[in-house]
Symmetry: C2
Subunit: 262 residues, 2 copies
């Protein structure tokens, strides 16, 4: 795979999504920004609907999503697949590549192409030793991903199809909001109903039924690749949506951490 060198000369340029995300919880220092830009030197584009990492292969690189979506999944003998989680702009694919170079689950692109930046994960060690706060932010990101997967478990385990669907749409909406790429109550989702079904553990027919129901009740509206959440308050009620990890991220305060006070 060939990687193109991209140029972000100054931090005055529009921040890449990972920095937007970090900056959202805590303003970054000039030098931290420059350090993070080192992870953004090489970019590549993956075609839509393409398997990008295959379960079992060895690839000791990490990737930052710049544009487009990807998903991690597992294929089953039945021919079905289960989507484990989505990677949206600002998310890191294979954040543990340093210690787990063997890919545990395949990663593929959705119905839009994907632009990622590639970095050698051992650069992180150097980065963290110079800027310990970046280690904190990276850890915070991992904690967020953990919480996001926990929500996926709760959806699949104890929510009805109806609740699941509302819940997932709300979560995607809020994750996109943090990196500031959606409007008031609408977002662009490069997904098919088949992918939604594989995410929520439903059949294609049933996700269709459920989306139609939500539409008929004027809770959502779906066009080509755009999704409107028409009544977020009511959707939240239906979905029992109360995600801590997204609402309270502004509270990160490194002053409490002795080893970073100096």
């Amino acid at each position: 795979m060939k990687y193109k060198l991209i140029s972000y000369q100054s931090p005055n340029d529009d921040f890449p999504p990972l920095l937007k995300k970090f900056n959202y919880i805590q303003p970054l220092a000039e030098e931290e920004i420059l350090a993070l830009m080192k992870l953004h030197q090489y970019s590549t584009i993956i075609d839509k609907e393409t398997v990008f990492l295959e379960q079992g292969e060895v690839r000791n690189k990490s990737f930052i999503v710049m544009e487009g979506w990807a998903y991690r999944y597992s294929s089953l003998e039945s021919g079905n697949q289960q989507i484990i989680n989505y990677y949206l702009p600002g998310d890191v694919i294979s954040p543990f590549a340093l210690v787990m170079p063997k890919v545990s689950y395949s990663v593929a692109t959705t119905s839009s192409r994907l632009q990622v930046c590639v970095f050698e994960p051992d650069v992180l060690i150097e980065l963290f030793s110079i800027y310990p706060r970046l280690a904190i932010l990276y850890g915070w990101m991992l904690g967020r991903e953990d919480a996001s997967m926990a929500e996926q478990v709760i959806r699949l385990g104890r929510h009805s199809a109806y609740k699941r669907t509302a819940h997932l749409l709300l979560e995607l909406f809020h994750r996109l909001k943090v990196i500031g790429i959606n409007d008031e109550n609408t977002f662009h989702a490069p997904l098919t109903q088949q992918l939604l079904a594989d995410t929520l553990g439903l059949s294609l027919v049933h996700i269709n039924r459920t989306l139609k129901k939500l539409q008929k009740e004027n809770l959502i509206n779906i066009s080509a690749k755009e999704i409107w959440l028409l009544d977020i308050t009511k959707l939240k009620q239906i979905a029992e949506y109360r995600i801590y990890y997204l609402d309270e991220i502004k509270k990160l305060n490194t002053a409490n951490i002795p080893s970073l006070a100096a």
Copy 2:
């Protein structure tokens, strides 16, 4: 909460489970062992069937499970709960406490009491800066937990009750095997059928049906708190069990990591 000081004078003592786990993938150096023992200075005991951490509370401590089981869960308005994951001996509860002091999901003990060691998560920063390989091992542990949750998503999303049950039992069995506290094909599980139901997104009645079916087919056997896996090969076939992260952990090799070669 009061913590009792515990004493492990020399590494010749029997390793605590976290060290057993680390040592299983890579032999630890004498000084690394001593460093890790700093995380094991204070221990406490939590009664069985007790909520240990409550969703929303602030508790910037991490805990290492020494003995007994705990689980992380979410309570729903319906009165149901969904178990997200289990903490077995050697697992760390709140591994991200440093950056996420607000507890996202409640943690409770199962039907046996729990012994944990408590440590200040910012000790990790110091530890990792002196012994970078410990950072690698910690990261490996996080990667493993991520994979374990991914398996939970797959079970809930695309497996039948029958498959789910077989799969979970196999995973618990293998996780316990790493820390060496089970026999050939049996393990002690301080679980009720209600907890299993809440883990696998099933009703109490249905998990009972399913367990009975597995027993009738001579695949498992359950007594008081002991579970036998009578035909692991067949169970693996049924469950489509092929967990990378557990089978291939011996392969961790830090020689490949430039920044740790020196």
